[in-house]
């Protein structure tokens, strides 16, 4: 078959973003993913409406959700693929090149869910989180998936006479590189003795042979090389891509390590590429399992089969304790999956700062197309991919990955509920200084600046001031309030305005809301079409600062906020009202939704809603508090507090499954608000 590479250098990476790689991000996977997306868009100097293609991983939210929550108007291409992220990159390159979309956002997020580490397994919160779309193999007697990596590692050692000390080279190299990368998840120095003393998990693989579980997300923006010239960042041209599977592909049926997807990938990559192995300046062999990195090095042609350990020793830089291939090419300069963090190979994507701009590469004079990178990774040995990237700039994505939320003592759930309704949080989980909240809000504000959203804080009466003070503190640092970004929500009812303080926007323009009567009428006219769940709303009401200042405008408690959330598990689960997973997940989602709401506006039917581009929406409904159930796992004890708990209810509305079709939305040309058209 003739070698073709029609998209060679025609498509570029123009923006990268990451949510940071940490053990405990204090945020949900959804939130992390959206953070990374926002930063990638921001990095490219684009706005959400510039994105017309979406490709996400099955680990995290679907493109529909990303679209709704990022406020992207519409896309002409979307896909959701299994990891590694380079599969997504390759799909996006080809979609852009084919003209089905112009600018694609590619994203991946992963969560340290129960089952990925011991500590996660013993954490009742994390136990509930799984990787979306990935069902762990329930069969203890199967080689499918991870056990086979260990078995083939064993074969590699046995066939070539190597030992664990040889596997250790990969882990030691990754850790040494992580020490040079301030954003790596684990950077403590690692010695061979440490490695050999490490607990065997799947023999012969020990804990340090397997990627380091993290909460993380990465995103990239991909567009045509032509368009890239006009954008904020110098383009990184994608020069050649390659994917491959070889039959038999099943882990325990693979013929041997010389007959895998890797061989297909590298053969085709070199054939399609003008870049040769000698041109490569940085190399990212996937090291989710240490032995895979050895295979990549061999299959890429740096040495023969079975020779990688010797090759690594020959190329070891004693000074830095890491590999420098031929004295100049770092290997997994970001720290690899083993130390930078296990993100199924997406690590190099968002790390041009540490990888493309690796010390050695930076030292060399730069000319276009001088530096290139081979980003090789796999989620499974038989099915692999590789990209050659032609990097025209050292500056791409030069912003360092930020550690978005400091490590606080509390976890995502506590943060979530602290914002959504503090009264339902067991006291022990409330962060007395609101530090978690501050970290969280900081992030929200960053995001709001990019997407011009407003921040909505819902607090129960007694704890409300704390939240507002926190906001103000954050604002002191950011000046966000001056931009009128805050929407404050306090409790209250028709007769007695909330005691919450009003945040007066400095430059924000306040909109007057409709009268309560108008709202009531609009609502009534609408109610018959809606599925109303739970009891009718009680005395809680929400008043909204900025747009609708506390004490000035009243809303009927039945008002709902359309918050741009594609209907999936959470919305439905919470309706079960006592379902354990439902309660926490739903609150987490509420928070996420609020984070990404573009701001509350009225639509022409008098409903208060976000300006977000909700395709299928979820209502956040002010309701009697029984909606959140008890938490049997013991993370948060709602028992005895059921009548005080969260004043929010997430009620699934027209999301299908309730006998109502999906609705469609359109943009109001005058106000910019979205109107909902109801299918008839």
């Amino acid at each position: 078959m003739a070698v073709r590479n029609d998209s060679k250098d025609a498509v570029a990476i123009v923006g990268v973003g990451t949510a940071g790689y940490v053990r405990d991000a204090q945020a949900s996977l959804r939130s992390l993913t959206l953070d990374a997306c926002v930063r990638a868009i921001q990095d490219a100097g684009l706005a959400a409406h510039d994105i017309d293609g979406l490709c996400g991983s099955t680990h995290t939210i679907a493109p529909q959700e990303a679209l709704a929550e990022l406020g992207i108007g519409e896309v002409s291409w979307h896909a959701q693929l299994v990891v590694p992220l380079t599969s997504h990159v390759i799909a996006a390159v080809h979609a852009v090149h084919a003209g089905i979309c112009d600018t694609a956002l590619v994203y991946h997020g992963t969560y340290r869910a129960g089952g990925t580490s011991r500590s996660a397994r013993h954490d009742p919160l994390r136990q509930r989180f799984g990787i979306r779309g990935v069902v762990p193999n329930p069969d203890p007697d199967s080689m499918a998936g991870t056990p086979a990596y260990a078995a083939w590692a064993d074969r590699y050692l046995q066939d070539h006479g190597w030992t664990r000390e040889d596997l250790a080279l990969v882990a030691l190299n990754s850790r040494a590189n992580a020490a040079l990368n301030p954003t790596a998840a684990i950077r403590t120095p690692l010695t061979l003795d440490d490695y050999l003393a490490s607990r065997l998990v799947r023999e012969p693989l020990c804990m340090l042979d397997m990627d380091y579980p993290v909460d993380a997300a990465d995103a990239l923006v991909i567009t045509t090389a032509e368009r890239a010239r006009d954008l904020a960042q110098p383009a990184v041209l994608l020069h050649a891509e390659s994917l491959g599977i070889m039959n038999p592909p099943q882990e325990d049926q693979m013929r041997d390590l010389d007959h895998t997807g890797l061989q297909v990938v590298m053969k085709n990559l070199w054939q399609r590429s003008d870049i040769t192995r000698d041109d490569v300046d940085v190399f990212y062999p996937y090291d989710g399992f240490s032995n895979i990195a050895l295979s990549w090095i061999e299959v890429a042609g740096y040495c023969g089969p079975g020779e990688a350990p010797d090759f690594l020793r020959d190329n070891w830089d004693g000074e830095t304790g890491r590999v420098m291939l031929k004295g100049r090419v770092p290997l997994n300069s970001h720290g690899g999956s083993l130390s930078d963090g296990g993100t199924q190979g997406s690590g190099p994507s968002a790390k041009p700062s540490t990888s493309f701009a690796a010390p050695l590469a930076c030292a060399r004079p730069r000319t276009p197309q001088q530096r290139c990178c081979v980003w090789a990774g796999s989620s499974a040995m038989p099915e692999d991919w590789c990209c050659a990237v032609n990097d025209e700039s050292a500056e791409v994505g030069s912003k360092e990955r930020q550690q978005v939320i400091p490590q606080f003592e509390r976890r995502a759930l506590a943060v979530t509920i602290a914002i959504v309704g503090q009264k339902c949080v067991a006291r022990s989980l409330v962060d007395p200084q609101n530090r978690v909240l501050a970290g969280r809000l900081q992030l929200v504000m960053e995001r709001s600046q990019v997407l011009r959203c407003r921040v909505l804080v819902l607090g129960a009466a007694d704890d409300h001031h704390g939240a507002v003070e926190t906001l103000e503190k954050v604002d002191d640092r950011n000046g966000t309030l001056g931009r009128g970004l805050i929407v404050e929500c306090g409790p209250g009812d028709e007769a007695a305005p909330a005691g919450g303080r009003r945040i007066e926007p400095v430059r924000g323009k306040r909109r007057q809301c409709r009268s309560s009567a108008a709202h009531a009428k609009a609502h009534d006219s609408h109610r018959s079409r809606r599925v109303v769940t739970g009891p009718q709303c009680g005395r809680h009401s929400i008043t909204i600062g900025h747009d609708l200042a506390i004490g000035e405008s009243k809303h009927l408690p039945e008002h709902r906020f359309h918050v741009g959330r594609w209907g999936s598990d959470a919305a439905v689960q919470v309706r079960g009202s006592s379902h354990v997973a439902g309660s926490s997940q739903a609150t987490a989602n509420v928070l996420d939704v609020l984070d990404h709401a573009e701001g509350l506006v009225e639509d022409d039917q008098g409903r208060v809603r976000t300006g977000g581009r909700g395709m299928g929406d979820v209502d956040v409904q002010v309701a009697q508090p029984h909606a959140v159930g008890s938490d049997q796992a013991g993370v948060v004890d709602f028992s005895g507090k059921r009548h005080e708990c969260c004043p929010l209810q997430v009620a699934s509305s027209e999301l299908g499954g309730h006998g109502e079709p999906f609705s469609t939305t359109e943009l109001d040309p005058v106000s910019g608000a979205q109107k909902r058209r109801w299918p008839h």
Binding site: N137, P140, D141, S142, P147, R155, R202, E203, D252, Q253
Partner: protein
């Protein structure tokens, strides 16, 4: 469809000892759960994966001769591989 009975003997080509995995009766991950993939004598293109009989973390040599049999593991009939003598 043609079915053919085969003897269930073969040679160990892959092995690992797992210390984590889905909980199941009769499996002690702390001691180690030994899995092997076997090339069957009578179906050389296929490997069959199974736990070692009475596995308790001991490793089995690559190239070992084994035979499949159904054993009672925690009250559940489970196909498992039993070590044979070299010449079998």
């Amino acid at each position: 469809m043609i079915s053919e009975m085969i003897g269930g003997r073969g040679t160990v080509e892959l092995r690992t000892v797992l210390h984590v995995g889905p909980a199941a009766p009769g499996i002690d991950y702390e001691a180690g759960h030994t899995l092997v993939s076997i090339r069957l004598d009578e179906a050389p293109g296929v490997r069959l994966t199974a736990p070692m009989e009475a596995a308790s973390g001991e490793i089995v040599d690559l190239g070992s001769r084994v035979e499949f049999r159904v054993v009672d593991r925690g009250g559940i009939p489970t196909p498992a591989a039993r070590l044979l003598d070299r010449h079998d």
